[in-house]
């Protein structure tokens, strides 16, 4: 049985392991729920260390696309590769066979995910949430952390999101913004190549949004590839190097924030932003 590492696609400019860390290639991905097709052939490349922000009306398939990247959602057609390695599948002959759960879990440890509703484990403290995965998750090429290591690293990460002093608190004792920062620290605990953010500020009170966005801004500079689904247009313009506009399961347009926000080519993009941007910017 071939291992994951052998399924290498011809990745562009694979010179140095560090520089290619976190290249995401989504190719012709399709996905249906029952009769409705929510992804109609999506192709998108995010460069290593890049920050891609996906925007678009609700129901356009943004979240589903994000969830296919770590194989939480299986695709019906097409494929997703990270640094040239297929996610969730291996090549055998002319077929892509779905990997065993154990292998997929290993891949997932390289892809951190932050949810709209945080999904912190309510029965574990902030620190326990952060250390839950590193001590049990089987990781590709790395041993499991010992409890002491995980703890030390966990405190370091909580410090990074500004919550070291709340390490012993349970999620319900934290504000929404603090919970989301713990969730970010938890996603970082496995040292992922890629971080996925699924509307990370949508469930937050307006005055708590910025504390979370500041943490993400900080991450954007760290060289981790970020893929962010958000409705915060100001933040998108600020942090993204690629903005992707999706509508009805398709990518309508993508480009730099400058291009997409101020000079969109497509009529659909223009009409969407005319409804969304102005209230967001004029406050």
């Amino acid at each position: 049985m071939s291992t994951v590492a052998t399924n290498t696609l011809p990745a562009p400019a694979a010179t140095d392991a560090e520089t290619t860390r976190g290249l995401v290639e989504i190719t012709k991905v399709r996905k249906s729920f029952g009769a409705t097709e929510v992804l109609k052939g999506i192709t998108l490349t995010v460069e290593p260390g890049g920050v891609a922000v996906i925007v678009g009306p609700s129901g356009s398939g943004k979240s589903t696309l994000l969830r296919t990247i770590n194989h939480l959602e299986k695709v019906d057609a097409g494929f997703i590769a990270i640094d040239g390695t297929l996610v969730g599948y291996e090549v055998r002959g002319r077929r892509l066979h779905e990997l065993r759960e154990k292998e997929i879990l290993k891949q997932r440890t390289e892809i951190g995910m932050v949810f709209q509703n945080f999904n912190l484990f309510p029965h574990l403290t902030a620190l326990e949430n952060v250390t839950a995965a590193p001590v049990v998750a089987p990781r590709a090429g790395k041993p499991r952390s010992s409890k002491a290591e995980a703890r030390e690293r966990g405190l370091e990460l909580l410090d990074r999101v500004g919550l070291k002093d709340r390490a012993g608190a349970y999620p319900r004792q934290l504000s929404g913004g603090q919970q989301q920062r713990v969730a970010i620290a938890r996603a970082l605990a496995l040292d992922p190549k890629i971080l996925l953010f699924d509307e990370p500020t949508s469930a937050l009170d307006p005055e708590l949004v910025n504390e979370v966005l500041d943490v993400i801004r900080e991450l954007a500079k760290s060289g981790t590839t970020l893929i962010i689904v958000t409705h915060e247009m100001g933040f998108a313009r600020d942090v993204a190097d690629t903005v992707v506009f999706m509508d009805q399961g398709q990518i309508v347009e993508q480009g730099t924030p400058q291009e997409i926000f101020t000079n969109p080519h497509e009529e659909r993009t223009r009409s969407f932003f005319s409804k969304v941007i102005e209230p967001a910017f004029n406050i």
Binding site: K106, M113, A137, R172
Partner: protein
């Protein structure tokens, strides 16, 4: 009797009669005296008028006379029952007392506890497996689990018990080997294999498993789907996801009903008297058939069941409290902590600050 009134009312020097009480509520201005302020309460035509200064008035909470009446009636009833229990000679407390700790009764009690512990533990383990089967994606596993629950929930426990004990009538020998061949690794007479104890444990366990499967399944379903998703995204292996993430949260929903079941099981074990198995209830029956002291001996058994249930209830309280960690912002005080706090705040001249810190 005094617990219904709030502390404010208790400290109020006003005599506790309903007629006097109503006066300050209706018209504060009257009490203040018509001489000082013109007696005008805010009526419909007095918009914009400033209220008089009531800051120094004493607040009197509403009285609930019917609550007192109800309390008194119930208290009378309770006192009557207690009185009759203590004074009616036919309860024969003099007979109950020595039998309560008699060796044979204690032996029966231990058998009851043994049956409860074994069938309870095995039942819940099997129930957990059945619950996982029921939640699996395989239609066969789902239907097998469903059928198991269906059969064992729809036949009386008494019938199951007798059926297991008489299994030898249906199958003379029990053997373990390769199906459809003559290869046998193990073979025994059913009657020697199924003792009274084995039949009792089998019946109780399988019955318990059918019920606890549903309880556990309900608990698992009550955990938010996002929890599993987050654990999966973090690469946490499936077994860990169940045991470390989902089950601890499901426990909150499982525990109250599970303890109901265990308490039911304690008393349910009394049904194995049909197998002439000498647990508590059967022992009591044997004794009163000999001595003819039926009621006192039934009282002995009842009292022991009450004791077991009480102990289990205490366990339940603390286990539930343990699993409510993280579900409530601050854990409620235990009765013990409450008592300590009460003593700390009511005891004369103790250092309240240190005591209070101790209770947190």
């Amino acid at each position: 009797m005094s617990s219904t009134a709030t502390p404010v009312a208790q400290s109020a020097p006003v005599p506790a009669s309903a007629g006097v009480e109503s006066a300050p509520e209706t018209a504060p201005a009257e009490v203040a005296g018509p001489a000082t302020t013109p007696p005008e309460t805010a009526g419909p035509g007095s918009a914009g008028r400033k209220a008089a200064d009531y800051a120094d008035y004493r607040l009197v909470p509403a009285r609930h006379p019917w609550r007192w009446v109800g309390t008194a009636v119930v208290a009378l009833g309770v006192a009557g029952i207690a009185w009759s229990l203590a004074t009616n000679p036919r309860w024969e407390w003099g007979v109950v007392a020595p039998w309560f700790t008699a060796q044979s009764i204690v032996n029966g009690l231990l058998e009851t506890l043994k049956l409860t512990a074994i069938s309870g533990a095995l039942g819940f383990i099997l129930g957990f497996i059945l619950a996982l089967m029921r939640l699996s994606a395989s239609p066969l596993l789902v239907s097998v689990s469903w059928t198991f629950s269906w059969i064992f929930r729809s036949t009386p426990l008494l019938v199951q018990m007798l059926l297991w004990y008489n299994l030898g009538y249906l199958y003379e020998k029990i053997s373990l080997g390769l199906p459809f061949t003559d290869v046998r690794f193990f073979e025994a007479q059913t009657t020697t294999l199924i003792s009274q104890f084995a039949a009792a444990v089998l019946g109780l366990t399988l019955n318990q498993a059918a019920y606890s499967a549903e309880i556990i399944r309900g608990g698992i379903l009550s955990v938010d789907q996002g929890q599993l998703e987050a654990a999966t995204a973090l690469g946490i292996p499936a077994w860990r996801r169940s045991t470390r993430i989902v089950l601890p949260q499901a426990m909150r929903a499982i525990l109250p009903t599970a303890f109901n079941e265990v308490i039911g099981l304690v008393k349910g074990t009394s049904i194995v008297y049909v197998l002439a198995y000498s647990e508590l209830f059967y022992t009591v029956q044997v004794i009163y058939n000999r001595t003819q002291q039926v009621l006192p001996l039934l009282l002995v058994a009842t009292l022991w069941y009450v004791v077991i249930t009480s102990v289990l209830s205490v366990f339940q309280y603390y286990i539930e409290r343990h699993y409510s960690k993280g579900a409530v912002r601050t854990l409620p005080l235990t009765p013990l902590q409450k008592a300590r706090k009460f003593l700390a705040t009511h005891a004369p001249a103790t250092r309240e600050t240190t005591q209070e810190r101790g209770t947190r």
